[in-house]
């Protein structure tokens, strides 16, 4: 694929100021003081509180629904159900198959049935509970494999997508084969800021929504359809967003709050409790995967066969894209000349699943990396050497037939990670808190076995398969109140905590040579920025800001050239001054701005991609990012307890625009990978969620999290701003596999399922 056209890079004598430096977050001081306004902190005089009534059953018919008992409670202003809707009754990210409120049937535990607005949150909750719903409970379809042949539980059927990849010679066979079944449990994003927002009816009959989300414009479009309003009457403004990790890409309270605000003509605030949050957003797809790897006796991969079933739960969300990633990256970052992959994403009565950090690549990475270790054992090869011998590189083909034209430093990641220092051996007098089981004070040093595991992963950056992925930036340069140049950046890019606001300021400073940069609050008054997902915003919105700044700079150069009776091509912008190329004359930026502000709006589109064809072939992806992980664990095999001692990683990042921010992304992403490896699973019993709380759904604490040793491979990527690849997801893709590989080494157990639970170790038949 051709690289997208970018503005020609401005020639500088010195490095762009600020880019590549650990510039501090502008929002951090307010966040430490408790003064940063999150979406759950919003308040308006006279506002009402919304609450949702959710189905206690994963599958049922609604015989009758009577809101009267709720409306009889003092302080209740409105109850809305499916019968009260006046716009579209369904919504969805890619397929509009999810009801705003259950329409005669409920298809998952926690599906919204009604919403209430009341004066006080407790009244709203009690009123929701008072709504009389008569359910006829039906048998839930909870087995993803069975869903392929079961009667449809939705008019659109049970199959979201069957993706076939047929690559190379179907008859190819290896001299050595290994085969295995693998399973990945349902992980939750567990962002800390609950789903929340404030909807305010506007005088033109529209609505203003202040909300925590990942993609303002796609929220707006879905909301507008359900309110039967033109898009311009639905105005979204980003409220402080307390993490996301994919879980805010689908709508949660947005439509409900807007409906209640329009019905009551009052501002309505909704804030989910933690329990409701577990029901209110999509999760990572649980998956069952079968793999067979073929290799030569010398350890060259010949073929990968795989069949995988991803449980998408009751509604489509982004299942079709998740299964696409899972299949395309099924072998892991290795060159495989032949492949035969069948991936299914299916509908069940389990909770809906969609985007989570790593997006499909996580599930297949866990299985594929386990296969690589088994292959190494079958071949009598070192696990790292086997990976090196098959590492993908630039100009290799993926199993989708696409030739990698970007950077692919897989071997570099592997060797750099392998060479990072290992931790000290477990000391005989190690404090109990650092042993498996920690504060439980259960393990003894003499029982603890150490293991080391390795895994390598990759995924796509940006949206794939023909999606026109773009971001919009408006940049305005003018004289500020102190007559100094002031740049204002307006993007709809959602800052979820990843640090994009800092990057936006760094880019504007670098491109325009100004010190003062204001990043406006993100809203729908500027063009779409696309989603804060797929590790894409530094590349996409960063690219749009770079282009808009470049356009502003062109006007500046024209103005300065006119002043000096020169051609714009004779001038450059350097260190905040417009100077001639020979440096003999110049115009201060502030002088050039006296003629008035300069504003430019630009879109950055990444290079076009194409959908996969009937054989799963096509140039479906833009840029790829890779990472290697090495985990060290201590295990008490009798108790089945694991302590992760260290995770080392080498990650392909293109170029670090803000090293401190990259460090934090890598550490945080690995924490979520460790969580999936040994702690985190939404436990289902016949479709019912059994652990919707932080008491029962465990995420890594400060005592669980090991030191992360990290190094980066910096090979600038062509066609992206400053060569910087997105960094958010690769830490989560293969860190899980590395941790489980280490537990396997410590215990000798096959461990083909994540998360690894204590029983999987303690009660496993000894080999």
């Amino acid at each position: 694929m051709p690289a997208p056209s970018l503005p020609s890079t401005f020639t500088r004598k010195r490095r762009a100021p600020g880019l590549g430096e650990s510039v501090l977050r502008p929002d951090a001081p307010a966040k430490t003081k408790g003064q940063f306004a999150f979406s759950s902190d919003l308040y308006l005089e006279g506002m009402l509180w919304g609450a949702t009534l959710r189905s206690p059953h994963p599958s049922a018919r609604i015989r009758s629904l009577d809101p009267a008992p709720a409306l009889a409670i003092g302080g209740v202003h409105a109850v809305i159900t499916n019968d009260d809707l006046w716009g579209s009754r369904t919504y969805g990210l890619e397929h509009h198959d999810q009801p705003v409120f259950a329409d005669q049937v409920v298809r998952y535990h926690g599906e919204p049935v009604a919403a209430v607005a009341a004066d006080h949150p407790e009244i709203a909750r009690r009123a929701a509970a008072a709504i009389a719903v008569d359910y006829e409970v039906t048998e839930p379809l909870v087995d993803a494999e069975a869903a392929l042949t079961a009667p449809p539980i939705h008019p659109d059927g049970n199959l979201f997508r069957h993706l076939k990849i047929r690559f190379g010679d179907p008859g190819a066979q290896g001299e050595v084969t290994v085969e295995g079944d693998y399973e990945v449990g349902m992980q939750d994003q567990a962002f800390l800021g609950p789903e929340s927002g404030l909807a305010v009816p506007s005088e033109d009959g529209g609505v203003e929504l202040y909300v925590a989300t990942q993609w303002l414009h796609v929220d707006r479009d879905q909301i507008a359809a359900c309110l039967n309003l033109p898009r311009e009457k639905v105005r979204l403004t980003l409220a402080g967003t307390g993490g996301a990790f994919g879980g805010r890409e689908d709508l949660s309270m947005q439509i409900h709050a807007c409906l209640l605000a329009l019905v009551t003509r009052r501002p309505v605030k909704m804030v989910y409790s933690r329990e409701e949050s577990f029901f209110g957003h999509v999760h990572r797809h649980p998956a069952r995967l079968w793999y067979r790897h073929h290799a030569t006796a010398e350890g060259k991969l010949v073929k990968v066969e795989a069949r995988m079933v991803f449980d998408g739960g009751a509604y489509a969300s982004s299942s079709t894209a998740v299964i696409s990633n899972a299949c395309a990256f099924a072998p892991g970052p290795y060159y495989v000349p032949n492949a035969h992959v069948d991936g299914y994403a299916v509908r069940t009565n389990n909770p809906p699943c969609g985007a989570m950090r790593g997006f499909g690549a996580v599930q297949t990475s866990f299985a594929a990396e386990a296969q690589m270790d088994r292959l190494a054992a079958a071949l009598g090869m070192d696990q790292v050497e086997l990976r090196l011998a098959n590492a993908l590189k630039q100009h290799d083909q993926l199993i989708t037939g696409q030739v990698i034209i970007g950077t692919a430093p897989v071997a570099e990641c592997i060797t750099a990670c392998r060479d990072l220092p290992l931790p000290e051996p477990l000391a005989a007098d190690a404090p109990a808190l650092s042993l498996p089981g920690g504060a439980g004070l259960t393990a003894e040093v003499r029982d603890v076995r150490r293991g080391v595991g390795f895994a390598v992963g990759f995924k796509n950056l940006g949206f794939s398969e023909g999606f026109d992925d773009y971001s919009t930036a408006r940049v305005r340069l003018e004289l500020g109140p102190d007559d100094q140049p002031l740049a204002t950046v307006h993007v709809a890019t959602v800052e979820v905590g990843q640090g994009f606001t800092t990057i936006a300021m760094q880019i504007a400073r670098a491109e325009l040579g100004v010190r003062e940069v204001v990043v406006q609050t993100a809203d729908t008054q500027v063009g779409s920025a696309g989603s804060t997902s797929a590790s894409r915003q530094t590349m996409m919105s960063g690219g749009a800001i770079q282009m808009a700044c470049s356009a502003v700079r062109e006007v500046l150069l024209e103005r300065a050239a006119l002043d000096l009776h020169l051609a714009p091509a004779d001038m450059v912008l350097e260190e905040g001054e417009l100077v001639t190329r020979d440096g003999t004359a110049g115009v201060p930026l502030a002088d050039a701005l006296k003629a008035g502000p300069i504003e430019a709006t630009r879109e950055f589109h990444h290079a076009p991609t194409e959908p996969l064809d009937e054989n799963g072939q096509g140039n479906a992806h833009w840029s790829l990012a890779f990472a290697a992980h090495r985990a060290v664990v201590d295990v008490d095999p009798e108790l089945g307890l694991v302590k992760v001692v260290q995770v080392a990683t080498a990650q392909d990042i293109g170029r670090a625009l803000n090293p401190l921010a990259v460090t934090g992304q890598v550490e945080g992403g690995i924490a979520q990978g460790i969580g999936l490896a040994v702690m985190e699973e939404i436990v289902l019993d016949q479709g019912k969620v059994r652990n919707p709380s932080f008491t029962d759904y465990l995420i890594p604490t400060a005592l669980d999290m090991p030191p992360v040793v990290q190094t980066w491979i910096e090979q600038p990527e062509r066609g992206v701003p400053y060569g910087a690849k997105g960094v958010g997801e690769p830490p989560t893709v293969s860190s899980t596999g590395a941790v489980v590989a280490a537990i396997r080494q410590a215990t000798g157990l096959p461990l083909r399922r994540v998360p690894v639970r204590p029983d999987d170790i303690a009660l496993a038949p000894r080999q």
Binding site: A28, K33, I73, F191, L192, R274, A661, F694
Partner: protein, 171 residues
Amino acid sequence: MTDTQPTGADQATDSYTLSVNGRDLPVTDAWIGESLLYVLRERLGLPGSKNACEQGECGSCSVLLDGVLVAACCVLAADAAGSDIRTVEGLSPSGELTDVQRAFVEQGAVQCGFCIPGMIVAIHDLLDRRPDADELALREAISGNLCRCTGYGRIFAAFHAVKEERARAST
């Protein structure tokens, strides 16, 4: 800040005064079921304490109640009348960042920031009680403060930066 109450059999309301960060703040006709976290956030205009779980699991609402670190979501507000309540807003009344807050900013310990106010309150409490606390003591002390973004690495770095700065200042 909202003046209405839930109705029903247990609609009992009460008026009381809370001492928050050294100021006496009246709470009028509030439903007695309201948590300290709710009253701070919704009636007293102090939303710095966060509401990530509202059931005592995450630490994002950590405050000091008579000098003891508690989850404000698990304290009945009316029960806190007569106690000395210190919230994140009370750590830096002048508006200047404390050394812990500054270290969090400079060490990159803040991402989404939702856990951070509770984390800051908990670390100040630890260092007030145990100025010599080491990293393992820190890990134990904040093991009830969940962070989903950072993996805690930069938070540990901020802790060490504060300890070094305090050690320098005392020599």
